[in-house]
Amino acid sequence: MAAPESGDGNNGAARMVTLISSDNTRFEVEAAAASLSQTLQLTILDGGGGGGDGIPLPNVDSATLSKVLEYCIKHAPAAANGGAPNATAVDRAELERFDNEFVNIDQSVLYSLIMAAHNLEIEGLQSLVAKKVADMIKGKSPMEIRRTLGFPDPTPEEQAEMNAHMLEYGWAYE
């Protein structure tokens, strides 16, 4: 059950907080996990989110929030240990494996995730997703990037603009 508490702060049984997504779904989660979000951490430190009220998150829908919390719950123990100085290599490998699998998802979900991570200020998650998107851009031609990222096909006018731009800055595309 409860992971061994890492010395600091939380009184006895892990404190739970309730988060409410934009579509009114309530999520109950350990305060330690929710505190990975800088934004929520402040509210939680102020004693918010407990009991019946819960913290409303009007910018995050339930599908995204459950994904965000999945990340937070997985990463909370490592974060509580102050980064991971005393984490074993196995733990770290396990987290890495989790991260890799975690971002292996539909693009639209990725974008919702990075937006939520941005709003909630979850540095690790934002970085993880940004890296994934950056990897989708890396080493590709503009047209390939457009295709990969699901841009609509360029209009003839747009295409002409792209060509002119590429002619001018061909060096950047070598």
């Binding site: 997504s21 579509d23 829908d61 339930s62 974008y111 990075i114 940004a130 998107v133 609509p152």
Partner: protein
């Protein structure tokens, strides 16, 4: 360690998914994100690569110009000539790379200017600057991208 989910309203997944209809026209979802988030993504790319995104669409023309700094791809360190003749390596040599370049790393021969990686900075930086100015000039000032 568990997460309980109590449903208190209609599940709104459908609302979000509509934006992701594959293929069909309309703005793509990535471009709909605010500048802050796009910059955060571009920061994971080398500056050349980030500059390349300016060609993607008008929306992207100026995003890379908002990057907080330019990263220069380091080329591999060049072998130090001084390290061959050890007797001379301690001589203080003039450092032609002093301006704008990091000092030699710890562990490299003292005062040797040739152990820092030698980059071709000027041409690349000038081109980047030109591209930057052009991208800035070809677009309107920032407008919040929430539409």
């Amino acid at each position: 360690m568990s997460m309980q989910q109590r449903s208190g309203g209609e599940v709104g997944a459908a609302k979000r998914v509509t934006a992701s209809d594959d293929g069909a026209g309309g703005e793509d979802c990535l471009s709909a994100l605010p500048d802050d988030v796009l910059i955060y993504i571009l920061r994971h790319l080398d500056t050349d690569e980030a500059a390349r995104t300016s060609v993607l669409s008008r929306r992207w023309r100026r995003v890379w110009t908002l990057l907080p700094s330019f990263s220069r791809t380091p080329s591999p360190p060049v072998k130090c000539l001084c390290s061959i003749s050890t007797s001379r390596s301690r001589m203080p040599l003039p450092n032609p790379w002093r301006r704008g370049f990091p000092p030699p790393r710890a562990g490299s021969p003292v005062n040797c200017p040739f152990t820092t990686s030698i980059r071709p900075p000027t041409v690349r930086r000038r081109r980047l600057r030109e591209a930057l100015l052009s991208c800035l000039a070809s677009t309107r000032p920032p407008r919040s991208a929430s539409t």
